[in-house]
Symmetry: none
Subunit: 190 residues, 4 copies
């Protein structure tokens, strides 16, 4: 299911692919999507040709980047969901997802689309995240730690929101904390 059907990929090819992905992630998230492909290739230390061999389209590269990020988040959500206390799990996860999207610019958009699945490629990871969040949310609600009536779409919207807010505040850790506290307190009953 996770196993790549498409040939094991030669050692150097795999390394280039990884470099490309890393460079693209870095570049896209710090400087936006408008950066020329050539620059991404240079940042990865390969030629443009190589970039296009691995990702047939700039768009495809962008998607690959998003998938990577979403998978990371999904993994962490799953991990936390496995923890004991429902409340801790839920709020820990909330903060974690938000923090992990800081400085990610376009990424937030992708997370947002986890609720919509704009691109087919994002389907898998989105599904995983949605699943994980659903579990966390419901058990936290059952435990009385989160106000009832909220569903996953709203939760995702709030994650996006918090991400945007936190990103706004840049390096001021205290302000970020205050903002997160406002939102998480708002999630609690009453």
């Amino acid at each position: 299911m996770t196993d790549r059907q498409d040939r094991p990929l030669r050692a150097d090819a795999a390394r280039n692919r990884a470099r490309l992905l890393a460079a693209a992630t870095e570049v896209f998230t710090t400087r936006g999507t408008a950066v020329p492909t050539e620059e991404i290739a240079r940042a990865a230390g390969v030629g443009v040709g190589t970039l296009f061999r691995h990702f047939p389209t700039k768009e495809a590269l962008l998607q690959a980047v998003m998938v990577g990020r979403l998978e990371e988040v999904a993994a962490r959500v799953a991990e936390l969901a496995a923890g004991q206390d429902p409340a801790d799990a839920f709020f820990g996860c909330f903060r974690l997802v938000v923090e992990s999207s800081v400085g990610k610019g376009e990424f937030t958009r992708a997370l947002a689309e986890a609720g919509v699945d704009a691109h087919a490629a994002l389907h898998g990871p989105s599904e995983a995240i949605r699943g994980g969040l659903t579990a966390l949310l419901e058990s936290a609600q059952r435990a009385g730690a989160v106000r009832p009536g909220l569903a996953v779409p709203e939760l995702i919207a709030l994650l996006v929101a918090a991400g945007a807010a936190v990103e706004r505040l840049g390096t001021d850790a205290e302000a970020r904390d205050r903002v997160l506290t406002v939102i998480t307190d708002g999630l609690r009953p009453r």
Copy 2:
């Protein structure tokens, strides 16, 4: 700099400027900033040349659009600030600003920058909004309706956040309301 450079502007010139602004607002907010200038000109019923006579740069046009929006918001904030009950004024304003940024896409970004003033041109209106918000926030805090310790930057971050969240939820008015409630409840003390 002292010389009133900007002559009263001939009637038709003023009308073209207005049309351009309207068209640009419409186009930028619905289709993003990537739309070619030519298309904006066409939407306004003028030639590109005219567009560039009124706004020396695409960027300048974008800024003018943002300024317009910010001024609108500033006006409404001021209006509400004049109302009686501090709590009502504050929360009413919060919801109003958020709702007014729905479907505005790039606009939220500009509002966000009211806290930073990336572009000099936005300074005036930003200042106005910031002033209004400061007044509202402080009196609401004095009235015990909003938790202390929060300052304007965090408030703006939360406005941006709420805007993003609300935009995410699209037409589902109930979900939008639940999300706003989470945030406004979180703003209250305790």
Copy 3:
């Protein structure tokens, strides 16, 4: 019917369009279709942007060139068809069309397609040529100057053929004449 609906076209624009067409005709026919658009623009003394403003696609430019050539030929065919002696008209036309396609490379292909109408844009001129040739052929056949049983498609094939042959022989005028004589003699009865 011939009248351009699309605005009279400003003087300089018209001149550039003409230059572009001339340059493209020259370049395409002497060096093939693979020549970069940029070079054509340079040859015409304009920027690439101008080229693409007038012809949205390289393909479109090529078509315009072909249309131009076909129209020329159509005009001459019509002219000759108006002459007196059917035999003279027919054979004169044959030689004329052949000679006019010498060194035209891709052009022959277009003429060939007058029988097929690959591109809609070529339809008009193709039709005109086909019409003219039909008239010439039929009256020459009625006059007993051309063997019966031949129809326009075969005639076009023979024109293409003769064009290819003549082009092959390059500058040797005598050889060209011998080849044309073989074909025109072959067209006569018996």
Copy 4:
């Protein structure tokens, strides 16, 4: 140049070479010269690297294809030249060469160049064809079956011409026959 550079070629290498030639012939004649080398390699079931080991250049591959075709034709011409009746031999050969170039596209161009020898590599087979045609033509002229005054270059031009014409007419066998008759009749004296 004296040293037999080309070792006997290992069995599998020879097979790959043959496959490449076959695939290239097929691909070039049906889809033109613009097809990427990679696709040809794939069609031959080998990697690009192998293609370039056997043919240092795409151009070289194309030439090899043409040489192959020309050799075929040369062989058939020689065969026919050995037949009895000069007239039958000549006209049979004419039709044969023409028919053999149908649907060959670029091939005709190569045949055409047999009269010019643009590429050194084509020299050998071209020479063979030219030799055969010369013999056929001269004996047919001596037998009074072909008009005097025609030389091999014109004959080749006519072959090319007929090839082009016949190709134009596609599947309509009757039209093709009429066109060939026009040309062969034209070749006869008077």
